[in-house]
Subunit: 560 residues, 2 copies
């Protein structure tokens, strides 16, 4: 699936994080890079400090020399222009000042990349990650160049305390006041995260009643008209909520509310959220939408996390991505799906396209009985085959797909008339053709295709039609190639079946083969199958390949 | 889609890289973490050195104090047990020795995690990344605890030169000799990468002829019986090949051959390959299979890369993953797909389930004409509805799904007989019911469902059947809830439509609703839709919701 939304974004969207390292992988640039990847973005990371830590504790911190932090940032931005920048742990005042100065210069030079600052002060496990003399640098040098700052309760309290406006945040009113003050003092928008205290739906209704301009975004909360979901799941409104408050520079305030989760998988939550917001902003979303998507991403990261480590474990950063089932189309192999089908059925495919029937036909030694038996049965098969394309037209939803199915039917009808002439050259009259009893092999194959058409969608029916189209194309090309190779025994001149070989190796038929291959590759590209669906398609392809082989087996039995 | 292969792996599989940082994101632990994520693994990373670099050059290196490297590794392994370990840039002899000593102790303590060593010596841009006095530590202290070592041509030459066995690798015979020597001296398996020199298919055939025990794995190379792909694409066998040679401790040798790609997107290729191998080993694959998958992953990473930066750009690490279209099921919201459908059609859904028809019915003031009109048309609709389940049974492929479709039909047939009794209580005879002309709204809705059933697969037909099932469930629950709320105006006692409300809010019908919701959630969980398919499902759901509303609109017109 070459251009899923994930991959499209990856090509257009470079993100830079400037933060610390968490060697245990749950927080810091590790969480940032995972979040960038999950959003399909290209991640870059400048390190400000290393920590020796795990899910239980921070054992040590190794700050990077400020000048080397600056060198890293400059190395990145002179070469790859980030579409958004996120800052995390800045460790001390010197590093914070260096980061501020390089980013200010970058902004001065014309960069419009939004900057999201997660003012990391203390780790989830309680370790101080920012020396207190750095708060002034954050507030005065970094916040003003930021699109958004994302403090949690204690960070907001620390910052306002530093500004001599001490506050203890314990209500929605406090949150609003704190966000307002920080936004005003820092000249940036503020997302004040409410993960560290509990609200109820009553609190929200009450608060919202007193602030009529407040926008409330409900996340994973069942709304009116979702009674069926409420009853089926745990019941009514969740009792405990988390409320994050976004205070924008415009003064617009948005509350994001969602059920509170009791979980120990919260290591790196702040890093993840701010990185996800940066991704959403880099992709051109508004601040309000960016926060909505990013907080759902983070919420689901906690909800779907498996326990890792003995303390506060990491989020699941990969809940929103899946493995592709088919490789992307590339210049080296533009047909990865067809390649995969053939590889998957290698033996049975070979026993079909290099069947004794084919080899003997190529050498001109195939018995007349076998060939005549085959063309009589093929006549019946082509009825099923053209009807299947009629069914395909009935399943179509666009005029081009109705047209292409119909053109195949017209081609088969034309083929039938040359078929009839061809048969006459082998002494088989049209009446005899029509009167020939249908073999079991023919019924099995023809009815199987129509059954797939009844059961599945267009895609599945197309899969059932491919073994015939592609297999005869392969046979035609192979015979032609072997005929040109001395010593192969395959000959065209003097071969009673020369016309048959020429038909299937000829430009007209091969053009149809190319169109068929292109159509299934496009189908997979546009509608990438789940593992289950891919398996279904492979099964249909394999069954048809077997039935094709059976068709020639039956013809060969005639010669014995 | 809660348990795609990617996510399953993420929960079971922790990987540790011990390497340098490339702030520009293409190599080092950044490439490693991206590769781990793309393989669905949980990534952890211990830093040995930072670089200030970009796609053009390495501007500076900041080595980490060896003791702090050791602290990081110990922090990780006392808490989270990695399923595989990869080492990359080790910078200098002291760091290499520290890494060796901690890993040796870990192995001594019983760890069986495979270790893959990428003996990084020089960057793609030409910068020395390992001081030469470290080669001895690599060879004597690290290689012997490794499952695999992955040198490229120049690294293999440096290592053998250090061991006084100078060699210049320029042929497949050289490669084999070098791999053999390194494996023997380092007591580990060796993958010698041939990216830095060109081979041809002739070379491979010739080499393979002289080494009959050699296994040759063709990657992205068209095989015999793939004539149709060769003709359709660029043609014959690729002229220039890359050959990687795996020399296992057992003596078994495998050559991985694939087309050579001319690309500047090769920054971090070695890091990516060794990380991908570590992921495959951690997931329990054999060394031979691990190398096969990992080299295809890396090959496609180069092939699908978009140009990033001004020099040798990074690979595309995300070519093998896609964004999920539906969030995973969680305890907070076990019905993410149904939630999404209702959110997606919020207004039309509300205008259906809180239709004036419903409100008036709940208040007991709905005109008799409207209700009678409705139940007569509903009688016709239920014919389509049960036939649609017949079609669903015909599309099924398992007995349980045949059974569940059939049970719905039997329920409808039973409903029809109570329906008839109910109609009689409103003075409508069975003959009158049958003779009522079908309205346009009924035909539109009924025929639409059958058309979806003709056109699509089981899943699409199920989507078409849900708006009815779930909507009436919602109406029933909502009316029941409102009836229990004083002042809502909705009443049960004395309401001529009491039985109707009780039927749809009752346990029997609500049980069917729960089964319906569960079945579509399972469907999405097992067969996660592509964006295109999800859009199709949403369109069908929306259309049916509109047609349901139209059905009641038509009934209300009767009252005017």
């Amino acid at each position: 699936m070459s251009r899923s939304p994930l991959q499209r974004a990856a090509e257009d969207c470079a993100l830079l994080t400037i933060a610390g390292s968490d060697c245990s992988g749950g927080a810091g640039i590790q969480a940032d890079l995972k979040t960038f990847a999950a959003h399909g973005c290209y991640g870059m990371s400048v390190l400000t400090a290393l920590t020796a830590q795990n899910t239980m504790e921070v054992k040590g911190v190794h700050p990077i020399p400020p000048s080397f932090v600056g060198d890293q940032i400059r190395s990145v931005i002179v070469d790859v222009k980030p579409h958004a920048i996120k800052t995390g742990m800045l460790c001390n005042a010197e590093i914070a000042a260096e980061v501020a100065s390089v980013l200010q210069a970058y902004k001065h030079a014309g960069s419009t990349a939004p900057i999201v600052c997660d003012p990391v002060c203390v780790s989830t496990s309680g370790h101080t990650l920012l020396e207190s003399d750095s708060l002034g640098v954050l507030l005065k040098e970094i916040f003003p160049i930021c699109t958004l700052v994302t403090p949690n309760k204690s960070e907001a309290e620390l910052l306002l305390g530093y500004l001599d406006e001490p506050i203890e945040i314990s209500s929605l009113d406090n949150i609003l006041h704190a966000a307002d003050r920080l936004a005003s003092l820092g000249r940036c928008s503020v997302l004040l995260k409410g993960g560290h205290f509990v609200s109820t739906m009553e609190d929200v209704r009450d608060f919202s009643g007193r602030h009529p301009s407040l926008q409330v975004v409900k996340q994973n909360i069942f709304d009116e008209n979702m009674e069926i979901l409420q009853v089926v799941s745990t019941g009514l409104e969740p009792r405990k909520l988390v409320v994050d408050l976004l205070y924008e520079q415009s003064g617009q305030t948005t509350a994001y509310i969602r059920p509170r989760i009791e979980s120990t998988s919260t290591h790196g939550t702040g890093c993840t959220l701010s990185s996800a917001i940066a991704c959403e902003l880099a992709q051109g979303n508004s601040l309000r939408d960016a926060v909505a998507s990013a907080s759902m991403y983070t919420h689901l990261g906690i909800l779907t996390a498996q326990s890792i480590g003995k303390g506060n474990g990491p989020l699941n950063h990969l809940h929103s991505v899946e493995k592709s089932t088919v490789p992307r189309r590339t210049s080296v192999n533009p047909y990865p799906f067809t390649y995969l089908l053939i590889k998957h059925t290698n033996e049975i495919w070979k026993s079909y396209v290099q069947h004794d029937f084919v080899k003997q036909l190529g050498k001109g030694v195939l018995s007349r009985e076998s060939f005549v038996y085959f063309i009589k049965q093929d006549y019946h098969y082509l009825k099923y085959y053209s009807r299947a394309y009629g069914l395909l037209a009935a399943k179509a939803s666009t005029f081009p797909s109705i047209r292409s199915a119909t053109e195949v039917i017209l081609n088969v009808l034309k083929e039938i008339s040359t078929h009839t002439t061809f048969c006459e050259s082998f002494g088989v009259t049209p009446e005899e053709l029509e009167a020939t009893p249908e073999s079991t092999a023919t019924t099995a194959y023809g009815a199987y295709i129509l059954n797939v058409g009844l059961q599945g969608d267009q895609a599945k029916l197309i899969m059932a039609l491919m073994a015939c189209l592609l297999g005869y194309g392969e046979v035609g090309l192979w015979l032609k190639k072997e005929a040109s190779r001395s010593g192969s025994g395959i000959v065209l001149e003097g071969n009673p079946y020369k016309k048959w070989i020429e038909d299937y190796s000829g430009e007209h038929y091969q053009g149809a083969v190319r169109m068929g291959i292109e159509s299934i590759e496009k189908l997979v590209e546009n509608d990438g199958p789940s593992p289950e669906r891919l398996q279904e398609w492979k099964d249909v392809w394999r069954r048809c390949t077997e039935l094709e082989k059976g068709f020639w087996d039956a013809a060969m039995v005639q010669a014995t």
